[in-house]
Assembly symmetry: C3
Homo-oligomer: 362 residues x 3
């Protein structure tokens, strides 16, 4: 069991209260029981301090006196919650170590000390996996792929050949890293004018994707997210990037350090996103753009041009009752005409006012 | 073989015609052959009744006399089609039963009677699977996960630890249930003011997701859909919910009974969706919202605020030729200015009219 | 090693220069080293011709004289790049052939000559795989599925029962083909009026999806893309179609030959898309529509009605700073009212002008 004192030490908080009390888990202020620790990070919940049944609350210094409980005082209580959660979560579990007999490893695959390789994992020729990494059941590690230390791949992750992951990377189930970028050369019409080959069929001819994918340290990649390999150069995800579920990163994209993207967003080919950006859910970012550092994009925005100033950006329209929306949408399709009408009205009025003023001078 | 009489009994219809006739399958009114049964649910197709070659047609009472074929009469012919399809579909197939030798089961995994466990399935410690469930090849059932009776998991489904599924649940390939919610505490800048830990690195610190996922009875989950586990409490999908492919459900979302969501929609964290809602494809619902019962959302709408009245809601604009759209979009960016211009025009006109009326009184 | 002469012959270009020079790889004009071949397809990069360090450049006839290097001259240099990339890519690798001992094949599964079947592949009863096809680790080939010649399935692809793929098809990891279309018959309220069955539960009753999926030749399907089987008839993807990652194709959709779709797009049920269309990323296409040949749709457009004229189509609004967007969005919700105000202003002005003109005649 964990004492309050040990918890305080683990998260870097000052303990005020009973250090020997035993902590069973974490919970919200409203739901915490008498053996659980809660936290107050959002001032909107300050009112719950008085009535909480929690054993202790992680609070900021200015709120410490207002809690009727033991308190764990630190400048960033939300960080305290995160650090505390890590004690109770899976990451704290020691890797059991060892290679399951139902795993299939190439002879020259290299495993660091203490790796755990689950059943039905396939590791292809030349792949290397760093010490303490845990590869869940059914993952596929392509030829020559490199995984750093303490990685955690959940069941069913696919790394294509040559993909590299840094240290402390987490990849959730169903993520695919290193699939082919979407590149084709169209060849239709008179092919004899395009190439002297005589057996060329009309169609889109595949551009083999000869680059790779490089993922930095402390990156987390969500379930069923896909990251394509580069056409000639690599696709790059820098340190500390966090990608949610079902994100699509196209070939040759670069995402700067400590940028976070919410679920279902997509980034088209060759776009560069800066550091410390926050991309909402369902956002689409067109190809060949540059997004500078410190940009926030709200959910479901279409980013169709580069952004060179930090700040928050949006597109789209807001939800409204369908009957009203139908009328507004119909007007949107006439918006340019409407604007022209307003300009014409302004012109007419100016012309009307001019004679009126002159006549009023009469 | 199935007789018309048996089919009528199976779907709860009144048979008018040759009950001994043999039914080979189902088809549309237009395409059905002389040994197939068709249905008329949409009045728009009523004209096809006269020319159909079908052996029999499932119809509502008011249309029964208009069909030149055998008829299966019931109030809800579309329901009749659904019930009939179940005779011919896979669900009707008896589970073969048994555990494939290439499955990997923890010693204490519990299997109900008549379960079918495919090759390369991994079932971790403490997991329980109800009677008659079929787990397809390569599925991963995490530690302590619980699956009810008669579940059907298609190949390659991943359930993380502790996820619970009710009875009669169907999960399609590639779905991931119980992956981590997207939660991080940012710690940048002067870390000494945030925690007294001296070895803390700047970055997003992972909030371990300590909750689970609870899925009710008769839920169907589409291919490559992802449902994250809760941060502290559970993510909940109530009875009878139907989720299409590639849907993303974030942590601590609750979806009310008998709500259906079409493909590619996403729901952000802690949002509660009511019962009997119908969410179109590609819809994005922001976090921490409440959507009441009986709400319909049309495709690709961004729901950015709570909805407290049943009805249909929408956002976005309608497709139009690109050249026209470009002009309208440019005007949209000036829409606030345009509205101000119109207000100014109205004011000018009011002022003009007032003196005119007064002068006209002269 | 590959000589320039051999490369020229392979891509159907006219070589001007040192045919015996050895080619190590491909790169961009800017990054190519002295043993690499570059290409000039986009005139915007023509300025880089002078300074490139490339061994040779693939160019069009009009640019051939401007390169200070060896040149490979052909009408379509981008096609030349594609064909050259195929020499260096994985597709050029000979299939190693053979069935991995950890694969699980039904007794009556048929494999053509030279197939490569990876570990943990499951091939169910009656499936047939054409000569030279390579099935990556952990793929699942459902009962009766048919795969043509020279197919390449990357690890973790799922084909449901009865799906058919043509020749030279590439499917990336995590793709699911043949999952159930999303079809249910709602039965709520007084069920006795709907069917005479007495044990019917209220809810959505599953419509078993009795159709299949037919995929043509030379089709490529991206990672985690999902294609549902048809309800009664088949879902059809014609020859030469290229689907990027995370695309969703609903039941009974038909996509015409040589149409390409970028990532994260979705097509709802029964819609028919023509040939030679180009669908951008994140596009949503509603159900039961017809899109004619030669249509381009820009990214994140909602296609809510059929399109019968070739051309480019769009919807949505463009990204802008959030503070400005908020004002414009608020105005959008009043757009119909604004348009009515403008009409009223026009009417008022017309009425004002009429008496004024008449009085000016006084």
């Amino acid at each position: 069991m964990l004492t309050l004192e040990a918890l305080a030490r683990h998260i870097g908080a000052e303990l005020r209260g009973d250090g020997a009390a035993q902590v069973a888990g974490l919970n919200t202020l409203g739901a915490a029981g008498p053996d659980e620790v809660a936290f107050l990070a959002n001032p909107a919940y300050a009112g719950q301090l008085e009535t909480t049944r929690a054993l202790a609350v992680i609070v900021s210094p200015d709120m410490a006196d207002k809690a009727p409980t033991n308190v764990l005082v630190m400048g960033n209580p939300y960080l305290g919650y995160a650090l505390a959660s890590q004690i109770f979560g899976r990451s704290a579990q020691a890797a059991e170590g060892g290679v399951h007999p139902a795993a299939v490893l190439a002879e020259d695959a290299q495993l660091g000390e203490g790796c755990t390789i689950g059943p039905n994992v396939v590791i292809e020729a030349g792949a290397r996996i760093g010490a303490g990494s845990r590869i869940g059941p059914g993952c596929h590690i392509g030829a020559g792929a490199v995984i750093g230390k303490r990685a955690r791949l959940y069941p069913g992750v696919t790394l294509y050949h040559g993909v590299t992951l840094g240290d402390d990377v987490i990849v959730h189930s169903g993520a695919v890293i290193g699939s082919d970028g979407f590149g084709f050369a169209p060849a239709f019409g008179d092919l004899s004018g395009q190439s002297s080959l005589t057996d060329l069929a009309p169609g889109f001819h595949k551009i083999e994707q000869l680059g790779g994918v490089r993922i930095g340290n402390q990156v987390e990649i969500g379930a069923n997210t896909t990251i394509d390999r580069g056409a000639l150069d690599d696709t790059v995800i820098e340190d500390g990037v966090k990608l949610d579920n079902q994100i699509q990163i196209a070939h040759n994209v670069r995402i700067g350090a400590h940028t976070v993207m919410a679920a279902c967003s997509g980034v088209a080919g060759s776009t560069e996103i800066g550091r410390h950006c926050m991309i909402g859910g369902g956002v689409g970012i067109a190809g060949h753009l540059k997004i500078c550092d410190g940009v926030q994009i709200t959910g479901m925005t279409l980013v169709s041009h580069s952004i060179s100033e930090p700040g928050t950006y949006s597109s789209g329209t807001a939800v409204e009752p369908n009957s009203q929306w139908r009328r507004n949408v119909a007007r949107f399709r006439q918006l340019d005409k409407l604007a022209r009408k307003v300009s014409a009205l302004e012109k007419t009025l100016r012309e009307m006012e001019t004679p009126r003023s002159s006549t009023s001078e009469d």
